[in-house]
Structures are given as C-alpha cells and as structure tokens.
C-alpha cells in the first residue's frame, strides 16, 4: 500500500465509525423538532460539556490556529486570550438565557429575540443575519476538510472533489441523527483531538529542536519580531489585539449554534459550572501554536499557513499516524459543521420562512423544510469554499464581526427593562452596515481597530440613543419578557 492509501483509509475508517455512532445514538429517540434541535432539553453536565466543546474546538483550532502562528506570528496570541474570556462572559449570560429558554420553550436564538422584544420582523432579521454569518464558519470547516484530504493523499486528490464528498457525508449525518447523535460523536472527536494535539504539540518541537523551550530559542534567534504583536503583519498591533479579543469573547456565544446549545442543558447550574471548568480545555491551543511556529522554521516556504500542521505531520511521522491525525481533523470539521448546518436550517425554516411566508406550517413540515435547507446552505458554503482563498482564521473573524452584533440585544435584553425592539433592531442594522462597509472597502482593521468591534461600538451607541429617545411604554416595566408564547 502506498502511504497516501494508508492515510486515506485511516481517515475513512474514523469517519465511518463516527457516523455509525451518530446514527445509532440518534436513532434511539423519536425525532420531532424539539428532539432534533435541543435533544429534548435533557442533557446533563457531561453531554452539554461535550456538545459545547464539540462546537468550540473546530478546524479553526486544529489547522487555523497553527496556520496563523505560522504566517502571522504574534497576532495568533489573540486565540489564547479570548477563549478564557469567552467563558467568563458565558458564566454570566448563559444561565439567564437558559432560564428564559425553559420558561418559554425556546429552540433558537431568534426565538429569544421574539419573546424578549415581541417583534416577528426582528426575530426573522436575527435569523437571517445568523444564517448569513454561519456560512463563512461552515466554509471554514469545508476548507479544513479539503486540506486534510489534499495533504493526506500527498496531493493526489484535489481539494474540490474532497470537499464535495466530505460534505455529502456530513449532510447525511445531520439528516438522521440530530443533536443527540452529534453530541456522542463529539466524544470520539474530543478524545482523538486531545491525543493528536498533545502528541503533535510535544513531538514536533522535540523532533526538530529538542523541546519546546529550544524551539522558542530557535525562533527568538531567527525571527524575534514574529513572537510579539504585530508579528509578520503590519497592521495587527495592540489596538487590534484588544478590539479583537473583546469582539470574539463577546461574540463567542452569540453564534446561533452556541446560543442554541445552551438550551440542551438540564439546568442553569450545569451551564454555570461548565463555564468554570471550560477554560482548562483550551490548554490544547498553545500546543497548536507551537506546531505552527516549528513549521515556520522547518518548512519556511508553504504557500498557505493553514497547510503547515498537516504538512509537518506528513514530513515527520509514518502514514498511519498521518491518517489518524487527519481523521481527528476530519471529525473536528464534521461535528461543528453538522451543528452549524442544523442550527442554520432550523433558524431559516422556523424563524424566517414560517412566520413570514407560511404561517400555517406544522412543526413536522418545518422539520422537513429544515432538512432541505441543510442541503441549500451547504451548497452555498461549498461554492464559497471552492472559489475563495481566505485563511481559516480570517473566515472565522468575518463571522464574528457579524454575529457579535447580537450581543447588545441579548445582554441588555436580559438585564435591562428599558431597552426595546426598535432600539435593538436599529443597533444591529447599524453594526452590520458598518462592518459590511469597512470590510468591502478593505478597511479592516480600521485605524488599528477590528472592523467588527467598530460595528459593535456603533451598535451599542445606536441602541442607547434610540432607547433614550423613544417614549417609555407603560407595559415595559412590568412585562420584562413580552410573553407572546403562542407565536413560538
């Protein structure tokens, strides 16, 4: 057997085992909309932890982080900073979101806006923005899968057919297993990723430099400026760092899928205790950066930093190990991608299509429409993935610039009685417009600031202004959550 055949069959085997587990775990439960999207709201600490870790540790962790350490250097440090902070935010906001979710039987993020602000238009708009900005995140997983197959086949299989094939599997997986199957596949994926990350993160610096400390000594000797901000870039300095860390830690649970996964928990205390321990799980992130930095010295001429981790693995280890690590990587792309597809499809069918175009649809029809939507959204992400060449981290930051615009509406909605629907609506529009303008005119970062963060500041300012300007309605003080339960 050739090395590429060995590696590829390892990857296929891992995907097959994971899919069987997913189908089996999903098949044991009757699949109505509530079971498919929030697992019947009965997940304890362990399953919630796995599900949340499952969607957090994605291709971005595996290939993107090492890729940025390779190509950008210092700016990749933002990844180590924002993760613990994201859990600090979640400690404060997820438990109350869960309380609202249980009280009004919410399934999606847009449901939350509907209940809090009593506006179908706002809720549909939130669903639309959520779906649009999940697409770059899905695209990122696709690019990752394509890279894995491309590198593992030693360039024999082109990235495009690999991506199409991989996502057919993910879509099939989403169709049949729903959120419960995905949570169990996360178990396999987390063990494999943990093994792969610790192994590569220690072995690669050891093989080429004699240890992590010696690897750093070599980088400091060769390119000391690479290790501090702005690294190999011109415009990602300390201002960019602060604004990006704030944007991404605020936005972490504004992803519709992260927001939605909090509804799967059994109690709000599950979420709070989860937040306390989650930062420890991030300990694999620095290891990924070490691999990227090692690759920078060992393989200095790669066309794309995102290739660095797998290329150095291929250079250093036997084919079966490349296959095992590639398989772990494939699952870290598939599991989050499955959750993202599921969320985007549910949002589209339940919060955008039904209320606006077909109010008479039954839950069963919504579930069917959601499954069709899975295919459409995947196809769109696939087209973008084939035709663009943006780095994995840049795709993630693009998504963050969009979804973090929900943050004012969520946080003020939870803790302030005053804030109202029109204020939040105009805030999101202002934020998204600013982000779109700055990005399309290539002004990200803008005067050193992350464009998404500029949009967020504008968003907050607009929400505050409109809230103060609009007359206070008498009902708002007593009716904190609008309680239009019948329409959910």
């Amino acid at each position: 057997m050739t090395p590429s055949l060995i590696a590829l069959s390892m990857i296929a085997g891992i995907i097959l085992i994971a899919s069987v587990v997913g189908f089996y775990a999903g098949a044991r439960h009757k699949m109505d909309l509530e079971q498919w999207t929030v697992g019947g709201r009965g997940f304890g600490l362990v399953l919630v932890w796995l599900l949340m870790a499952g969607e957090v540790y994605t291709t971005f962790t595996f290939l993107g982080a090492s890729g940025w350490a390779y190509s950008r250097g210092g700016p990749a440090l933002y990844i180590l900073a924002y993760m613990p902070l994201a859990y600090v935010i979640s400690f404060f906001i997820l438990p109350p979101i869960w309380e609202v979710g249980r009280k009004y039987r919410l399934q999606t993020q847009a449901d939350f806006f509907q209940i809090r602000y009593g506006s179908k238009a706002l809720s549909a708009f939130v669903a639309l923005v959520g779906v649009v900005f999940i697409i770059p995140y899905l695209q990122l997983q696709l690019v990752g899968l394509g890279i894995i197959v491309e590198v593992s086949s030693f360039g024999g299989i082109h990235r495009t057919p690999a991506m199409i094939f991989a996502f057919a599997i993910v879509a099939a997986f989403v169709f049949t297993s729903g959120v419960r199957g995905i949570a169990w596949v996360s178990v396999i994926k987390d063990f494999l990723l943990l093994f792969a990350a610790v192994f590569i993160g220690i072995a690669v610096p050891y093989m080429y430099f004699g240890g992590i400390g010696k690897m750093f000594a070599a980088v400091i000797h060769a390119r000391p400026a690479h290790l501090v901000l702005p690294g190999a870039t011109k415009n990602l300095g300390q201002t960019w760092f602060i604004s990006t860390v704030l944007l991404t830690s605020f936005g972490f649970y504004m992803w519709p899928q992260g927001f939605g996964s909090s509804f799967t928990a059994k109690s709000s205390d599950t979420l709070r205790r989860n937040a306390v321990v989650m930062p420890l799980y991030g300990i694999t992130m620095p290891l990924m950066l070490f691999v990227g930095l090692s690759a920078m010295l060992v393989l200095p001429n790669l066309s794309n930093g995102d290739l660095s981790l797998l290329t150095i693995v291929r250079k250093s280890f036997p084919a079966w190990l490349l296959g095992l690590i590639g398989g772990a990587g494939a699952l870290t792309a598939m599991v989050p991608a499955a959750i993202q597809m599921l969320t985007a499809a549910t949002l589209f069918a339940k919060n955008l299509w039904r209320p606006i175009f077909a109010p008479t649809m039954s839950d069963q029809q919504v579930a069917t429409l959601a499954r069709i939507t899975v295919l459409v959204i995947t196809a769109i992400a696939l087209i973008f993935a084939v035709y663009s060449s943006v780095t994995i981290v840049s795709l993630l930051l693009l998504g963050y610039a969009g979804v973090t615009q929900f943050f004012p509406g969520v946080v003020l909605g939870l803790f302030s009685k005053r804030v109202n629907g029109p204020a939040v609506f105009s805030g999101i529009i202002a934020g998204i417009s600013a982000v779109t303008f700055l990005m399309l005119t290539r002004r990200d970062p803008w005067m050193g600031w992350n464009a998404g963060f500029v949009g967020l500041c504008l968003n907050f300012a607009v929400v505050a202004t409109v809230t103060v300007v609009l007359p206070r309605r008498a009902s708002e003080d007593t009716n904190f959550f609008a309680a239009k339960v019948s329409s959910i």
């Binding site: 440090l77 180590l80 613990p84 400390g213 300390q238 602060i242 109690s267 904190f480």
Partner: protein, 75 residues
C-alpha cells in the same frame, strides 16, 4: 432577570484586565519563563487562573443568594 452581584462581576473583570487591556505590559519575549516567551507564558498562566476567578465569582453568587448551591447531578 436578576443581575449578577458586584463581587461576581469584579472577579469576572480580573481576567479581562489580565489578558486583554494590559497587553502593552506583557507582550514581550523577556523574561523567558519555563522556556516560554513571556507573552506565551502569561496567557497560558491565565488559562489556569481564569477558572479560579470564576470559582470565586460562583461563590459570590451563591453567597448572595442569586443561585442556590450546587446540587449533585445525576446523568
């Protein structure tokens, strides 16, 4: 919704100051600690210290009666 106590918010802010706002103080290579450049060492250290801050925030919330103390959960 009940707002978190000031004490809990204080402990939540500590990691923000440590790894975000103070970047100009720690973003440098020297001193090298445990073989790591200082910025890497500092951020990894705070991955370990953040759970401690959140533990403290948790206790503040329990103490104030905002949340009832953790019950044993059955899976």
């Amino acid at each position: 919704m009940k707002r978190p106590t000031l004490g809990a918010i204080f402990f939540g802010l500590v990691p923000f100051v440590a790894v975000c706002f103070s970047v100009s103080l720690w973003d440098r290579i020297h001193p090298i600690i445990l073989g790591l450049p200082f910025n890497f060492f500092w951020l990894i250290l705070w991955m370990l210290l953040t759970p401690l801050c959140l533990c403290a925030a948790y206790r503040m919330e329990v103490h104030s009666g905002n949340i009832s103390p953790a019950k044993k959960e059955i899976h």
